[in-house]
Homo-oligomer: 614 residues x 2
């Protein structure tokens, strides 16, 4: 089978046209010289976990941020790297395929060859399994020919994809040594990048010279933090899903007789559901984060939907579209508790048939209340990251069944007087994941691939490639690298995070910030969306003409450019220093002292461990 990987293949007219597209490079990556500026040493976002993290990562914690600068930049302490010996780099796809992944390979290959035509890029075949087994494909222009700007991970494939057990880590180390790799690039989401950080630390400890680099590629869009604005694949999947959701809205409005319940991929966090809502304006979305914050039970959610259906019926509206993230099921407190019990038994090796009789009385009562198809799905074996198989649990069907039962009850009791409620269920995920990547994802992934080379050229280990200012045009993108440990936190308890991550330093998926600007936009419009059918069709993904250069709505709204703002702060500090030079007046010194002492007080209180926001 491996012999099929990387074979040239017949492309459709459109695939061929896309394969000819060549993304540009931001000025800071142009040319054959790497110019890197180091920032301050990083801390971890999780103040209370910082010491635990530094203990787990003695060699890789606390490294500085890195920025790559353009040739014309006028910064004093820039390290300029002009010598580029030939190097050998390995790349592995980890976890769910995400549109754009192939362009990381392309970008890295290009960067390697530009700096030294004798450098080599090896792709591992079949994901982490290929890494352990040292199965590689040398990336060449010929190999890439039919994979540039194409979707999927089929150039190299992927498998279960974890690099976590001692055995797996040792196999990765052995492979890196045997293949004489100078760098190992891991393409994936939160779990894979956590694995990358651990590998980097282990390699460093073992005096292995292979540097490990992570790349944020995940359609979930949940690898977000101060350093990472967006993930490769999210833009495409949101656009494909939003098109389909909008089509369903139009369909609902034309026939006026169905409610569409649409579940979206995206794992625990609801970023995808939120973005699609902002792109296509369906009537309702229920975010997992809202459910957690308000501790809504499954009956609360059912009632909320039924009340919405009833309010619409009073305006003679018998159709609608309701979005649900796949992580919703885990966010419902009592279902989550039930899942925890089931998972404990599964981990102990109990068989599916026996678990129902082993449950605690209340969990058993809830379990028996649920329709048979959901019971079956809740008992499924755990996913490779030790959490529930969210894609297989039909939450949309569960809610449709419950809402239908409640509406029938209301109809009988006479509290609802409208037409019969009819729901049709959809799950959108697999059909978007393999899409041709959007121009944005093509560009972003290609640039990240180039950055990987820059990171390796600068000799950095345990870093993730980053681009900030993504909402601006490509020539204003800022390229850099951040230590993965700086994105970590330690959770001592948590909802459904998979037991393996509790108490350990990991990169956690970012959930939707209910105090953030993106969610605020949803809140402001929720009532209008619900009642007024403000359906909006962003149209199919375009590669030419209007819409081809659009970005996600979230990207435009979010408070981004964390690193830019740190620079801005530094500029203020420098300015104070330049004003309060020896020789300045007593009054100015007094004012500065008083102001700065109060600033320092406020900030130290805010950042003490007990105030940690994680």
């Amino acid at each position: 089978m491996e012999s099929d990987y990387g074979l040239p293949r017949e492309l459709s007219h459109m695939q061929h046209a896309r394969s000819l597209y060549k993304p540009q490079l931001p000025p800071c990556l142009e040319g054959t010289t790497v110019r890197v500026e180091f920032g301050d040493a990083t801390t971890a976002v999780d103040v209370s976990g910082a010491s635990a993290i530094s203990q787990s990562f003695p060699h890789t914690y606390g490294q500085p941020l890195a920025h790559f600068l353009r040739a014309t930049s006028n910064v004093p302490d820039v390290q300029v790297i002009t010598e580029h010996p030939a190097i050998r780099v390995g790349l592995v796809f980890c976890g769910r395929q995400s549109p754009g992944g192939h362009n990381v390979v392309w970008g890295l290959h290009e960067a390697l060859k530009i700096h030294n035509s004798k450098s080599t890029l090896l792709g591992f075949l079949g994901g982490s399994e290929g890494l352990f087994a040292q199965k590689t494909l040398e990336i060449t222009d010929d190999v890439l020919a039919t994979y540039r700007n194409q979707g999927g991970y089929d150039l190299l494939g992927r498998t279960k994809d974890q690099i976590r057990t001692q055995e797996q880590v040792n196999a990765a180390l052995a492979a890196s040594k045997a293949l004489k790799l100078d760098g190992l690039v891991i393409v994936g989401g939160v779990t894979s990048n956590t694995d990358a950080a651990h590998l980097a630390e282990t390699f460093s400890q073992a005096k292995c010279s292979t540097k490990v680099v992570g790349v944020p590629v995940t359609l979930n869009g949940d690898l977000k933090n101060q350093f990472v604005e967006a993930n490769v694949g999210f833009d495409t999947v949101c656009k494909v899903d939003s098109q389909l959701i909008s089509n369903l809205c139009t369909d609902a409005l034309s026939a006026e007789k169905y409610y569409y319940f649409v579940r979206l991929m995206g794992q625990k966090a609801s970023h995808l559901a939120l973005e699609c809502t902002l792109q296509s304006h369906p009537n309702m979305v229920i975010l997992g984060e809202e459910v957690v914050a308000s501790k809504l039970t499954i009956f609360d959610i059912t009632k909320q939907i039924c009340d919405a259906v009833q309010a619409r019926a009073e305006q003679e509206k018998y159709h609608g579209v309701i979005l649900l993230p796949e992580g919703l099921i885990e966010s419902i407190p009592e279902v989550n508790a039930l899942l925890q019990e089931i998972h404990r038994f599964l981990r102990q090796g109990s068989s599916k048939d026996k678990i129902p009789s082993q449950l605690s009385p209340w969990a058993s009562a809830l379990f028996q209340f649920l329709p048979p198809f959901i019971r079956e799905e809740l008992l499924l074996y755990l996913a490779s990251d030790d959490s529930a198989q969210l894609s297989q649990i039909e939450t949309e069907k569960l809610l449709a069944v419950l809402v239908e039962a409640e509406m029938s009850k209301r109809l009988k009791e006479g509290t609802y007087k409208g037409k019969k409620f009819t729901a049709i269920c959809h799950f959108l995920g697999y059909q978007a994941r393999g899409s041709l990547p959007s121009k944005f994802d093509c560009d972003y992934a290609y640039v990240l691939g180039h950055i990987c080379y820059h990171i390796l050229a600068a000799g950095l280990n345990g870093y993730m490639a980053t681009v900030t200012n993504l909402k601006d045009s490509l020539n204003k993108w800022r390229c850099g690298a951040a230590p993965i440990t700086a994105m970590m936190a330690v959770k001592e308890y948590g909802r459904a995070s998979g037991s393996m991550t509790i108490g350990k330093p990991v990169v956690h998926p970012a959930t939707v910030d209910l105090r953030g600007k993106v969610y605020e936009v949803l809140k402001q419009n929720a009532t209008k969306f619900l009642m007024e059918d403000m359906y909006r069709n962003p149209g199919p993904l375009q590669f030419d003409g209007p819409g081809a250069d659009s970005r996600t709505v979230s990207l435009h709204i979010q408070d981004l450019d964390y690193m830019g703002r740190i620079k801005e702060l530094n500029a203020y500090l420098d300015k104070v220093r330049s004003i309060v030079k020896p020789g300045c007046s007593q009054d100015i010194l007094k004012a500065a002292l008083s102001a700065m002492s109060s600033v320092a007080d406020v900030l130290s209180v805010m950042s003490s461990p007990s105030n940690g926001t994680i």
Copy 2:
């Protein structure tokens, strides 16, 4: 609720850009003069049913074909219509929404206003129900502003949409009289166009001056015959579905662990499944027509898929994509017989709970063998055209369950030695139906709208608007009209056609021609598609740049331009006549006589009722 129809609404950037697109007109529709040429009187495609059809349609059967000609055309018997009094026309959307429907309204409105600014177009609100209740919206440029080139039927809405019972026909007649309509345009598929033909006959009989015109708009693509090459909406839906199928193929190939079972909308015929296969090259497709022709049982089909899975496993391939048309379930002989029994009981008013105990022994045995979810779905109430609710029967899930069981059995018995078979099911339909229409569907629908006016200006009743030579560029499209009765046939028996159509003249859905060129292409490639993963992604629907002007694969392969070829034949006949003029040699006369008498013999044998191809 009706007050919401036709309201201006907020459009996305892409929707707005599309709303500014203006299709061109073929030369034959340009200007302010209508030039119509009448062909020979038509017969019915169904030779054996011709007399029954002529009896049912005494006023509208046997009318000639009509062609609309360009101003510069040089044809002798053209009727030139230069006077265009103001007329009033009603338009109604019937049946499932299909992308492009709105452009029929736009085209007709434009044509009316070009020829007389005082003409009026009334849209009926809420489909046929609106027609019966005389609820209308006057179409204006303002009303159309945000609906040009947009998907769905939400400008006017639609309901159950049949115009068939005496009461319904009378209501339509009353509405046409009360509103003083000169024309009534019915936009829909086979059922709705059959209804249109009956209305035309009834109106004519009742000396009502309203002329009835049908427009072929159905995503099923099954309103195909000598006069109709394609249906509005089919192109868009095939493109949207093919994109999603291709994404699933890429996804399957990236993860290498799933089989995707994909059911496609499209009613009884498998045109959509066939076209999507040619666009995206999935591993397998099972057409309803093949199952009928080979009388495959559900066990045969299961075995066929299992053998394919096994053959692929032997090449280390554990993934794949299998397409199934929604009509497949009715094509399986024993399931069809079961459905017929169930439907008989449903029509007699039996309740769902009682039917299982009323079934004949063998039907009962099959019913009990099927998984519970399918039993439930087979018992669903009949659709408005008196056939099964195909969209609600999860054939893909049924086959996935059966294949999984069989593969587990083979694994246990040791006849299959590969990895566990895992299937994930999809139904594609609703999410494509509401799409922004492709450029082709925008153009085609707009042109058909113009033709509707030409038909009314020529005073024709019971005709369908037609465009031929569609595979060529728009300026070579040939516009005309054909009597709907010429597309009818009488079936004395048939598979699952809904009892109402048996023994009556109706326009039947065209099924995939297993002797046709399109199917031949599939056959030639089936083995390669199955084994070699020749997945091909046509990409998302494009409005600009490469791919924006593409058409369906079928349109390019089919033997089309029936009317063009009739003209060609007439030219040959004329040529013989011109050669064999009085004065020609005896030898030439003798040769001509002998040749023509044998041609006449052959054709009369071929077209005798016992050789009818219906």
